[in-house]
């Protein structure tokens, strides 16, 4: 029986699948890699800073 992945494991697998799917083609436009101290946290997402924090990402 296959073990059900935890959400974190599922996310990790999905990230790898996304990277693999991107590889054969030209890199798609994407957000810049965050600096080490600025991960794309779900930061304050229920408020109006959305636009600003999207720029940070």
């Amino acid at each position: 029986m296959t073990r059900v992945l935890t959400p974190a494991e599922r996310l990790a697998r999905l990230r790898e699948q996304v990277r693999s799917a991107d590889r054969p083609t030209a890199p798609a436009p994407r957000q810049a890699t965050p600096k080490a101290d600025e991960p794309p946290a779900r930061s304050f997402s229920d408020w109006t800073q959305w636009g600003q924090f999207r720029q940070i990402q």
Binding site: L11, Q17, P34, D37, P40, S45, W47, T48, Q52
Partner: protein
């Protein structure tokens, strides 16, 4: 020792707590108070951050937490430029205003355009959904006035996004919502949920089948957005960013001391979720930690009362880290929701996070997996 944010990323300026509307789900207290900020307080807040060494290379300044446009235009004609003056080659400052849009005038738009101030517009969708919740103090509907404001923003070319609050009643209408926003020329939207928070002690989402209905709504919205790519949804974009990021998400900025600074009309300041500025907290004597005119914001690192508060919030984050399988997508939850729903900052799961973190993560992972499988098969 709490882990402080190295830099403050978001400064909330509450020019007033007053609001001309009486939305049924509003969680902010003191909406009758006519207390108004003086322009010097805005500059004092940014100067204080600078002198505290808390400014990095960018700062988002948001006028919020009340209806900012009930304050006379003359206030913003002074305050907005006074904040903008702190920008340097090394520091970008972006100002925005979260408004219900009913009081917008061409003069506001002129000012916002001049200083590149963006707008967050509160609009819950078509009139039959919006007007069921967002009404004036005498119970009159507001959709027409908001649409007039939206038209002004478009006429003046002001950058704006929409915040739409979902209630239980909205969840049956993803297609109508999508068509409405698309046809209204909205390009960016975030979907909040009707939260039990602050003085709003209940949520229409505490319905037994709420999770399933929310999941269906958001999934349908995701599919609609994917079809024609004309509406950018905050929740979907954030998750797409998470997929592209390959590291530890860190701590939610709402739960990290000094990442967000909130300043009240009288200059008092707090950190963490902005809602806490107006929230009494018995064991800590309130969330206000000082006043920007008299106290150094960075000084809270040595304030014993603040440290006790920071420890409570951090304990809550650490409990989330230990117990919640979704921590990698969240970073520890919102202290304001924990306090309202659980009565404690050092607690974990809330209804709010079951919806906006757990359910959303599950449905978006499923959607992306399906998309990848389809793309791989074709």
């Amino acid at each position: 020792m709490p882990t402080y944010a190295r830099h403050t990323r978001l400064l909330i300026l509450q020019s007033t707590t007053f609001c001309n509307l009486d939305c049924k789900y509003c969680y902010l207290p003191n909406r009758d108070s006519r207390k108004v900020m003086v322009p010097a307080t805005a500059a004092a807040a940014v100067r204080n951050l600078r002198e505290s060494g808390l400014l990095g290379d960018r700062l988002a300044v948001v006028w919020h937490a009340g209806e900012p446009l009930t304050v006379p235009l003359g206030f913003y004609q002074q305050a907005i430029p006074s904040v903008a003056e702190f920008a340097t080659e090394q520091l970008t400052i972006r100002q925005s205003i979260q408004t219900n849009g009913t009081l917008l005038t061409p003069a506001h738009c002129e000012l916002f355009r001049q200083h590149d101030v963006s707008i967050g517009l509160s609009l819950d969708g078509p009139a039959f959904l919006h007007d069921a919740q967002r009404v004036t103090r005498s119970g009159k509907t507001t959709h027409a006035a908001v649409m007039r404001g939206l038209g002004l923003l478009q006429e003046y070319g002001i950058e704006f996004n929409v915040i739409a609050v979902l209630t239980d009643a909205s969840l049956d209408y993803p297609d109508e919502m999508y068509a409405f926003f698309r046809d209204a020329g909205v390009r960016r939207i975030g979907f909040n949920i009707d939260e039990a928070e602050g003085i709003n002690r209940t949520s229409s989402f505490r319905h037994p089948d709420g999770i399933d209905r929310y999941r269906r709504f958001m999934r349908r919205m995701f599919d609609l957005c994917r079809q024609d790519d004309r509406l950018s949804v905050r929740e979907f974009d954030e998750f797409a960013g998470l997929l592209q990021f390959d590291g530890d998400i860190g701590v939610n900025t709402q739960a990290q001391p000094l990442a967000i600074i909130n300043v009240a009309a009288d200059g008092d300041f707090s950190t963490f979720s902005p809602e806490l500025l107006e929230t009494p907290h018995v064991s800590n004597g309130g969330f206000r930690l000082g006043n920007v005119h008299t106290d150094r914001i960075g000084g809270v690192r040595r304030d014993l009362r603040a440290l006790a508060l920071f420890r409570d919030v951090e304990d809550g984050v650490e409990a989330c880290r230990r117990e919640c399988p979704y921590f990698a997508m969240c970073g520890g939850g919102a202290p304001s929701n924990k306090l309202t729903e659980n009565g404690r900052l050092d607690s974990t799961e809330t209804t709010y996070c079951r919806y906006t973190v757990q359910t959303l993560a599950d449905l978006l992972m499923e959607a992306h997996e399906e998309h990848l499988a389809t793309a791989g098969a074709s």
